[in-house]
Each structure stands twice: as structure tokens, then as C-alpha cells.
Symmetry: C2
Subunit: 376 residues, 2 copies
């Protein structure tokens, strides 16, 4: 099961050319004029984008094929841009929206520790559950939302808040997964209760996940195993994804979760999955309507044998493809084909594996921006 | 020439047991009792440290030998502590002192951009140079120090401030190196003027450096080439250091500087040095008296051939030794043998190469703390 950013693409693409939503602004910035016959299996209308000079043709539906990915990934398709970090900055911005709207949220605290943030509008729906939530007398004067003191054990809190989430229904909190996330002030801190995963951003709680860069080395060149999400997925259908990724549910350690996801998502046996190494973490904070996402992704690298071919077991991945890392970097910088938060983990990979140079303008800013959220 | 933290050890070791200043508090935290016959070439008195249970004997002079390093690095010398990050946190704290004293400093701004911070006490020495520095009317009400508007070009500023530094003399600014650092608001930003390296912390300007983890892989195990600084060095004599490190002077790019330092410090030919990859950056901020260090170190990794033996060319390194990474980690966590800022770069290496696990308590905090300074 994949860790998702839970953003509706139609809301999150800032381009004025709605029809070009999967092609990044970065692709428009080049001065040399050329035309890319950008094919798509889709039978829908194709739109030409012309901005400055380069012209790219892309499916208006937003669907794309591996052929599209391979085409746009080629170094020669656009003038050399390896030192231009614009496209990477753009992908990080997409994961970190709405910081100016933090004042619309009330802290959500338990035992005087802030565990989340709740939007004033969403809070109005919670006010009717007076035996579960306690509100400040006058929220315009500050204060915080808390749980009713009668709910003193994690089990009682989990049950009471779970009932509220069910009661609010799919209309307010869509995509219920029946999967519980721990609620704590930071990673490893005491867990106050557990909350339905889909509800996490509505309560602004910290959420954790694992994402793995699965790569092979061939003739001194690194290649990245990339997945294409099933068209049936509720979130980001058909988009590119890491070989293995998953949210971190209550009660399982990162490493063990990764091994489990390796098996489910890519058919990687435990003997190989155990070779994956933890390499750090990225974070982001994204405000979208009532939702305040505060996510931390633990990053892993797994160098796979050349002979290994991934096979999805849980139906969540349509297919996999091995792409040179430099080409995958072009896909990230030039398009929005990747599920947004994958960009952070992959850009971190580019830093750690020497694909970024301090001489590139914005090197330190980009490095810092990979932990724009509360990374704790 | 090595990048240095410029801290006088006698000022920076926070331990109550002055005689044990090279053995970390972390070593005291274990419950199992045993005695380590910790030999030293030094003929000075040896002191036993007893705290909780473990007892370590260490030279009272603070000198140590490679034998000492090898002994203290052994996993079996202390109970297993690989998941205990206490010793690493301590090393990071040592590089990041005095944040509570920021209010004693005035911003130093040029063209309305803050480029540094100057201590009120140091500022009093600058006040007599009225044709160079301009002070706020009442510094207790805020404001900032700036350069006299007549100094309009970088050359004029460099010359005028340089004269002041010379005039203040070694007593106030010791260790003049006749090496210029660029003064800018951030890396890659326009350079307002250049400043003598030794004066940089007195003006609180950002300073940049490169540090390289030089390692080999043997039978699947990584080993780190470690240098021992010459006893003649003005800063951190005799302490452990990375294979290659250097400050970044005005007018040279990071990558080129690294290649130069590789040759000077370890006799690494350009053909091999070019294989070094940039892997990110760490930062710290340290206030000590009048000095406000705001340093960013660009980190590099170089996987060396097993056959390569480093040879110092500039007399700044006494000798080199190849140490298993896990053992070097023990040296960092258990002692203060390493020059302080090396710890940051090496801990970053441990994160990136899978030696740290998200399951270790404090994983995210430690990761974050590697960029405690303004990393821009």
C-alpha cells in the first residue's frame, strides 16, 4: 500500500495552461526552439504548449504512457539543463503549499503537547461532539482544541475520535482506509491515541512513511527502478512512484514496514530487502483547505542485483521500468509525472549520490527545502 | 590547509573533570563495570575517570596516540552502544554553543543585507574607525553596524577593513592567516568585500569549507582514512581529522578547492580526486566570547582504491590511518579526539551510508541537528 500525498491534482497544479498540467513550467524556460512529437496512447485530444520557444505536445487528459516518460527523459530533448534546479524547486513547492494559511488553524493538544492543527472550518463540525472535543472559549484569542478529560486512555480516545470520523462521513473525510496512524507530538514520543489514516490531515497530525530508492548499477551508471501506479488507485492513479513506499501505521517499526512493503509492492524477498539501508529523511507541510499535512518520509536506498525484476503483488502498481538516474532526474524537473512527494525523496537521492554540485545556483537552498516540514 | 573550527579547546570542553577532557561524557553512561588500561606515549600523569561504573585511564595532557585511538575504538571495549546517540549529540552541541548570547551581537549589514554579527564588546574597538564603520545612534534600541558609505567598491571595503584588522592586532584577533574569505549574505550571493579569515568570526560572517570522507571498501566493510594533525598546527594540534578538508577562500569553486586540498593534504592525484562526489552540507553556529562562527561545510565522499596510501604534502598532517567506519564511529561517540566540526561531517556520512537506523532514539533530532546553523 503506497504512502500518498493525498492532494487532488486538479487543485494542486498552479499552471495557467490547465491542459499542460503534467508538463512543468521548467520545461518552458528554454530558449532554443524545437518541437517534440510527444505521443500518448490516450485517444483524447492532444494540446500543443508553446511558451517562449519549445513546443511539447501532451495528452489533455493527464494520462501518460511509459513511452511518454522515456521520450521526455532524454537529455537531448531539451537543451542541457543539469545545473538548472528550477524544476526541482517547483516540485518542492508543490508539496509545501499554504504556509500563509497557518493562522486559520487551531493547535490540537493533548496533555499540553501539540499533536496537530485543526482548521476553524473543520472545527465547527467537531463542536457538536462535546463529549469528545473541548474548545477554547474564544478561539479568536488563541487557545487550543483538546480531547475531553474523561477520555483518559489511548483506547478510549481512539474509539471516541474514530466514532466521530465515521459520523462525519465520506463527504467530509473522503477515502477512509480503516488503517490507524499513531498520534504523538514527534516520532518516538508517547502515543496518545490512534487515528484513521484518511483523517490525519484534517487533524493536522504528524504522519510518517518510508520510501525506497531501488536502483541497480550497470557499467558504472546508476539506474532507478520506477513504478507506475495502477489506474485503479484512489490517489494519484497512473502516476510514477518509487519502487517501494508506504505509510507507517501504528505498531510497526520503519525497517520492518519497509521489508513488508518490499514484498507487497515489488515482490522483493526478505533476503534482498534486508540489504536496504536507511539514509535519512525528508519532510514537508502542506495546507489545502481543511487539510494540514505534516509528513516525514524516512528514505531508504536498496542496490538491487541487475538480474532482479520487480513484480507487484498487491495490484497497486501497474508496471515497473528501469530508468537511468539522470533520465529520471529529467522527468522530475520537466514534468509532474511523479507522485509529488516522490520528488523529495528522489532529489535527496540525487544529492547523496553526487548528481548535484555546490556550484549549481541554489544548491544549499534546495538541500534545505527537502526538510521544509517539521522533521521530528 | 585545513578548515578549522577555531575554538580554543581549553575554553570549549564543558566537562567538570578537566583532566578527562578528551573522553566524552557518553562513555560514562554505561552500567557494566570494567577497567580499560588506556595507554599513552605521553609521560605525563594519567588520570582515572570513574563515573557510574566504567573506568578509563587517559593522559592528563590531552595528547593521545594512534594506539589510544585504536584501543578506544574497539566495539568490545564498552558494552554495545550502537543505538545510543548520546555521544553524537554531545559532539554536535560542542560545535553549537552560546545561542543564548545572540542578543550580545549587533547585525552587520551592507546594502541592507545582513552579512554578519558583531559583539558589543568587539564593536567598541571598531568605533574609533569612524571612516570605516557606521554605528546605530543607540545600539540598545537595535539597528545595525554598516560600512561607511564612502567605501562603495569591494576593493575599497576590503582594503579599509583589512587595515582595521591589522591595526587591532594579534592581541584582539589572533592567528592572522593572510587569507581572504568572501563576505556575502549567503552562498553564491553577490560578494560585498573580502575579509581576513581569522577575522571572520569576529565579524560573524558566513564561512564555507569542504570536508571529504575518504574511504575504501574491503570485503563489504567500509574503512575511513583518518588523519592526525601535526603537533605544530596552531589549531587543534594532534587531533584527528578527515583525510582532506579546507576552508573555501575567495575566488575558488568548491570542487576545484577540494581537488587542490586532496593534492596538498593527502597526495591524492587529480585523476582520483575527480572521483570525489558532493553529497550535501552541514552547518553550525557557535558563539564564544566575541566570536560568532556561522559555518557551512560542503561534504564530499571519495571511495579510494584499496591500494592507495595517502601522503601529506604540506606538513599539516602527521600521519594517516585506515579505521573501520564502525570503529571511527566509536571514537566520535566516546572521545573528543576528532577536531569538533569533523564530527558533523562524519555523522552525516553515518546517516547516508546506513549506519544509523530510524529505530534509534533521537534519529530525526540528530539528523536535523547536523544543520543547526544557517545553511545558506
Amino acid at each position: 500500500m503506497a504512502w500518498t500525498c493525498n492532494l487532488h491534482l486538479s487543485h494542486k497544479i498552479p499552471f495557467s495552461l490547465a491542459s499542460s498540467r503534467f508538463i512543468s513550467e521548467a520545461s518552458h524556460a528554454f530558449s532554443k526552439s524545437f518541437t517534440t512529437p510527444f505521443p500518448s496512447r490516450s485517444s483524447t485530444t492532444h494540446t500543443s504548449i508553446k511558451s517562449n520557444s519549445p513546443t511539447l505536445s501532451v495528452s489533455a487528459t493527464g494520462t501518460f504512457t511509459w513511452d511518454d516518460v522515456v521520450r521526455i527523459s532524454q537529455p537531448e530533448i531539451l537543451p542541457d539543463d543539469s545545473s538548472d534546479l528550477t524544476g526541482f524547486f517547483e516540485k518542492i513547492r508543490i508539496c509545501n503549499r499554504g504556509s500563509e494559511k497557518q493562522s486559520e488553524f487551531l493547535p490540537f493538544a493533548i496533555d499540553d503537547q501539540v499533536v496537530g492543527y485543526i482548521h476553524n472550518g473543520f472545527a465547527s463540525h467537531l463542536r457538536k461532539f462535546q463529549d469528545v472535543f473541548v474548545f477554547p472559549q474564544d478561539s479568536s484569542c488563541g487557545g487550543h482544541v483538546s480531547l475531553h478529560p474523561m477520555l483518559s486512555t489511548p483506547e478510549e480516545r481512539t474509539s471516541a475520535v474514530g466514532d466521530v470520523v465515521k459520523c462525519l462521513g465520506e463527504e467530509l473525510i473522503p477515502g477512509i482506509r480503516n488503517e490507524l496512524y499513531p498520534v504523538a507530538s514527534s516520532f518516538g514520543a508517547p502515543i496518545f491515541f490512534s487515528l484513521e489514516r484518511a483523517a490525519a490531515p484534517y487533524f493536522g497530525i504528524k504522519a510518517y512513511g518510508v520510501q525506497m530508492n531501488g536502483y541497480v548499477e550497470r557499467d558504472g551508471q546508476k539506474l532507478l527502478w520506477t513504478g507506475k501506479r495502477s489506474q485503479e488507485k484512489a490517489t494519484y492513479p497512473g502516476m510514477l512512484d518509487h519502487l517501494v513506499a508506504g505509510g507507517l501505521p501504528h505498531g510497526i517499526a520503519c525497517g520492518e514496514n519497509l521489508v513488508k512493503e518490499c514484498e507487497e509492492e515489488a515482490g522483493i524477498p526478505r533476503s534482498i530487502a534486508n540489504e536496504a539501508i536507511p539514509v535519512g529523511a525528508v519532510s514537508y507541510m502542506d495546507i489545502d483547505g481543511y487539510r494540514y499535512k505534516r509528513d516525514v518520509l524516512f528514505c531508504y536506498d536498496l542496490k538491487l542485483p541487475e538480474s532482479f525484476i520487480p513484480e507487484n503483488q498487491d495490484g497497486e502498481v501497474d508496471s515497473f521500468k528501469l530508468i537511468p538516474v539522470t533520465h529520471a532526474a529529467n522527468v522530475i524537473r520537466r514534468t509532474q509525472f511523479f507522485k509529488p512527494n516522490c520528488s523529495l525523496v528522489f532529489i535527496d537521492f540525487l544529492f547523496r549520490h553526487g548528481y548535484m554540485s555546490p556550484e549549481y545556483i541554489g544548491y544549499l537552498d534546495l538541500l534545505q527545502s527537502l526538510r521544509s516540514g517539521d522533521c521530528s
